[in-house]
Subunit: 321 residues, 2 copies
């Protein structure tokens, strides 16, 4: 794949992955970055095709993301939602007025027969994004969460029930027959693969569940580095820590490193968790300790640069091993 | 039809019909007014089911219509449209943020299998409308305009081309097999039928084109009164005057009265056109001359009251004839 030559492939879900992707986009030439995004949270709502993670990544890279919510657009208005409420429509999933335009246009294009890949490229280009954002697949994959209150569709569990029901299992309906985007199937020429600081079970696992992705990760000689989504035993955002506990993992960066196991060569650990460095290294994973918190754009740039340095350092080691 | 007993059935298209309907709603008990609305302008746009005339009537009766545009909601914002423009979407048909919610909710309900009648009732009730607004049919009817630039779908001609191509013919695809709403098929017990000051060719003609409607108008003993959409040879709003000319009619209230011919017993003529009274009466149609301009809500109430008086006066004449 020419587009992958010496490039970085970043795997991303929502906020954390999007922030790191933005950081990477500021330190890499546009053609050297491809962000492959989870689509297992995608769903149809109000007749519209909604791709929450693709939009979070796209809005982040376009500089129009809402920093308060972690989803949707900045400087947003909510007049359609207010009117919909008056009409008795469903408003549990909040769609801002500008954000609605994205879903309307995506839905229109998908119905006209375009692939999600093409639609995403068009929308991202229109918003001024220069690197490649690719959905993990053009096929339909749906996260289903088995909880102590039964099986729940992802958004029902995540938004409507605020992640409260305890998770027993997560599965990705359709993943076994979905065709992964080609960038996920041939990672041979890459400079590195970066697992963003996204929820391992909800954002990265669906990508890994697509046929051929684990094999491609196994085959590549490019360094594979995960950035921790857990700091001090807590998730930066979202239910990752809660899920680590409920699914029987160590509620720590160590639990995440173990979960990724042999799929990664390196792990970016937060400085607050430096006491876990030795334990993670005993798994056979190199560890780089930095400040992983991304509040400002400068934080994102700094973490991206540090992660890339780590990737390149691992490349030297891998070539000599 | 119990709902029609001694009630008024008003036929309406967009702005003019909606204004008169609002006037009628202020002088009649809610249960005594049914507004049957043209749906031949309905179309699908951006994947949404849009019913321009139903919405204009609904917004008017709910007191939320935009008085400047004649369509859409008052106190509207346009953030979705602006975002859609940025995304390269189609923005020639302007949809405000609040208005979008109506189309989203209508589309969702129609897709779930509800009829347009039921959806309209629900939305209107939610907006606080107390009288009945009924679509002329639940079936699909589409206005097609034959012009000097070929056949055009209605919204293409009306909005995108600003009514500029000269009209040679108007037809209503699907009207011949559509089932009219029952209120249009049994007008026996009515106090009166009022043709709103709507475009005869675009708003009233589609209603008359539905199987059984002309027969019901022929059979009823209730007075049938048309309110002029033309004053001083000009349409209050829209292309009615232009179409009268292009379709070979007299560009005047007389042309409209002739067009309705034997379907009406009375004609409400504007005071500016009082010189046409005698000519219209020679058609066998009684004429009532008033100020038909509806700027304020008081104007609407006054015209509605005058029209109802005329209806009741005609009832006496019809009973004695």
């Amino acid at each position: 794949m020419a587009q992958n030559d010496r490039g970085i492939l970043a795997l991303a879900g929502g906020v954390g992955g999007a922030k790191l992707a933005l950081g990477l986009s500021t330190v890499l030439p546009a053609e050297a970055l491809t962000v492959a995004v989870n689509t297992a949270d995608d769903f149809e709502h109000l007749g519209l095709s909604i791709s929450p993670d693709l939009d979070t990544v796209m809005y982040s890279l376009a500089g129009v993301a809402n920093p308060e919510t972690g989803w949707g657009r900045r400087d947003e208005s909510w007049n359609a939602m207010a009117a919909l409420e008056q009409l008795g429509g469903e408003t549990w999933f909040r769609l801002g007025d500008k954000d609605l335009a994205t879903h309307i246009e995506r839905t229109r294009r998908l119905r006209a027969g375009e692939t999600l890949l093409t639609v995403t490229r068009t929308l991202a280009e229109r918003l001024g994004v220069r690197c490649a954002i690719v959905p993990m697949t053009d096929d339909r994959v749906h996260t289903v969460v088995t909880t102590d209150q039964g099986e729940l569709a992802f958004q029902d569990w995540f938004v409507a029930r605020r992640c409260e029901p305890a998770v027993r299992e997560v599965r990705f309906e359709g993943a076994d027959v979905a065709r992964a985007n080609p960038v996920l199937l041939d990672m041979m020429g890459l400079r590195g693969v970066i697992f963003g600081p996204s929820n391992p079970f909800l954002s990265v696992a669906p990508i890994l569940a697509l046929p051929g992705v684990r094999a491609a990760l196994d085959r590549t000689r490019a360094p594979r580095v995960a950035v921790t989504p857990i700091v001090g035993g807590r998730a930066i955002k979202g239910p990752a820590a809660k899920m680590l506990a409920e699914l029987g993992h160590d509620v720590s960066a160590l639990g995440v490193a173990r979960y990724y196991g042999g799929l990664i060569d390196g792990f970016v650990l937060d400085q607050a968790d430096s006491e876990l460095k030795a334990a993670i290294e005993r798994l056979g994973t190199k560890v780089h300790v930095v400040d992983t918190m991304m509040q400002t754009d400068e934080d994102k740039r700094r973490l991206a640069a540090a992660t890339l340095e780590f990737v390149d350092a691992l490349a030297c080691r891998l070539q000599h091993s």
